[in-house]
């Protein structure tokens, strides 16, 4: 994602997907363990569990256009899509890459804290609410300050932070109904 030709590559962090893999592995383990137990017990001449009898019966009698089958298939399909998204998406959406060095990231809440700190230092700003997404940063400034000036200051602050992909800044001003808290 480096914009200059000789700039080092600024990759996004890739999540190792540890938790999702642990969950899926646990689910596969549980399902295959139960089926293994049942298969062994039937192989050795015992009766299969009543649950499996019920399941086989349901699978053999329910037709494909039954609502239960279609609903189950829809749920399984969305689960499959979700797993594919987890497998292909980079994840770690909380961290934004910094231009300063490769593999250096800053937390979105941290960017929000910096923007808030900067705009609250402006005169006549009572408070500010900052939400930083990966593409947009929305700032609501409360107070009787010059909101255009606040926008300029916030843009400067975003430049100072130096993100690889600079979010678009949206500044909204709200006149404070009370006397501003900070001078």
């Amino acid at each position: 994602m480096g914009s200059e030709a000789q700039a080092p590559p600024h990759r996004r962090l890739r999540s190792p997907r540890t938790r999702a893999s642990a969950l899926v592995a646990l689910a596969v383990l549980a399902a295959s363990g139960v089926l293994l137990y049942d298969a062994v017990s039937e192989w050795t001449g015992h009766h299969p569990g009543s649950w499996r009898h019920w399941l086989a019966d349901q699978l053999a009698t329910r037709h494909l256009d039954s609502a239960w089958v279609l609903a189950g298939a829809a749920v399984v399909a969305s689960l499959g899509v979700w797993l594919l998204v987890l497998a292909l998406g980079p994840g770690e959406r909380r961290w934004l890459p910094l231009r300063q060095a490769p593999d250096t990231v800053v937390d979105r809440l941290g960017v929000a804290a910096l923007l808030e700190w900067r705009v609250c230092a402006e005169p006549m700003v009572a408070s500010a609410r900052v939400r930083v997404g990966r593409r947009r940063a929305r700032v609501t400034v409360h107070g009787s300050a010059d909101f255009d000036r606040a926008g300029v200051v916030l843009n400067e602050e975003l430049d100072r932070i130096g993100l690889v992909r600079r979010p678009d800044l949206k500044v909204r001003g709200r006149r404070a109904r009370h006397r501003p808290h900070r001078q």
């Binding site: 592995a25 298969a39 053999a60 329910r62 494909l64 256009d65 499959g80 060095a101 800053v106």
Partner: protein, 224 residues
């Protein structure tokens, strides 16, 4: 292949299997082949909406063969073993126990640095930087392939209003340079920065700010 790649490939395979199976059922159930006037090949499963999901005939087709139960049991046993391995790989911390240090050709001498000792030292050095209030440093890599693929991951909490780029430079000049000196070579660095929010919000936003601060506190690096 590292753990990230293995996890992502397995998740993709399982997701694709689930998606394809479910799509076959959905396409058959809504009678899409008939409506589109497509004739699937004869071996294609789940064509008609009036057929069961898994008929008794196809479930018990090979039941009387001698290899059926051994094959079923072996298949499930393999799945159990593989999923246990996969699960165990998630529970392990990918941390090399020690790093081999260069001895500059001294015969009979082997120097090793314990991984936690290195990360503790880098963490202490990071905490001495003026803008850092908390730090967590870990040495990552494969436990047995000591030096080759080891890398350093540092997470720093900066004071309100600090400059992230300056903090990166300070970390590279200070703690990271010491680590290079100790190891006698470069270690890839992954640096994660957090910035504390300023204290003392005005009363109007206090409740929301308190909630947000609580959220941030949960995300702050803990100092060990």
């Amino acid at each position: 292949m590292n753990r990230t790649t293995v996890n992502r490939v397995l998740l993709a395979v399982i997701g694709a299997v689930l998606l394809i199976g479910a799509l076959l059922v959905l396409v058959g159930g809504f009678d899409v082949y008939h409506r589109l006037a497509v004739t699937p090949p004869s071996w294609w499963p789940l064509i008609s909406p009036h057929q069961p999901v898994l008929s008794t005939a196809s479930r018990t087709r090979w039941r009387d063969r001698g290899w059926w139960w051994p094959a079923v049991v072996a298949g499930f046993a393999l799945l159990v073993v593989l999923s246990v391995c996969w699960l165990a790989a998630q529970l392990r911390r990918p941390e090399p126990a020690e790093i081999e240090l260069p001895t500059h050709g001294t015969p009979g001498l082997r120097l090793r640095l314990r991984g936690p000792a290195l990360s503790r030292a880098v963490q202490e050095a990071a905490l001495h930087l003026p803008e850092v209030t908390a730090a967590r440093v870990r040495l990552l890599g494969h436990p047995h392939l000591a030096r080759r693929r080891a890398r350093l991951r540092a997470q720093l909490l900066l004071k309100p209003g600090s400059d992230p780029s300056a903090a990166v430079v300070a970390f590279q000049r200070g703690p990271l340079t010491y680590a290079y000196g100790a190891v006698g070579g470069e270690l890839p660095l992954e640096l994660r920065l957090q910035v504390a929010s300023s204290a003392g919000e005005p009363p109007a936003l206090e409740r929301r700010a308190r909630r947000r601060r609580a959220k941030e506190r949960r995300r702050e690096p803990r100092v060990v």
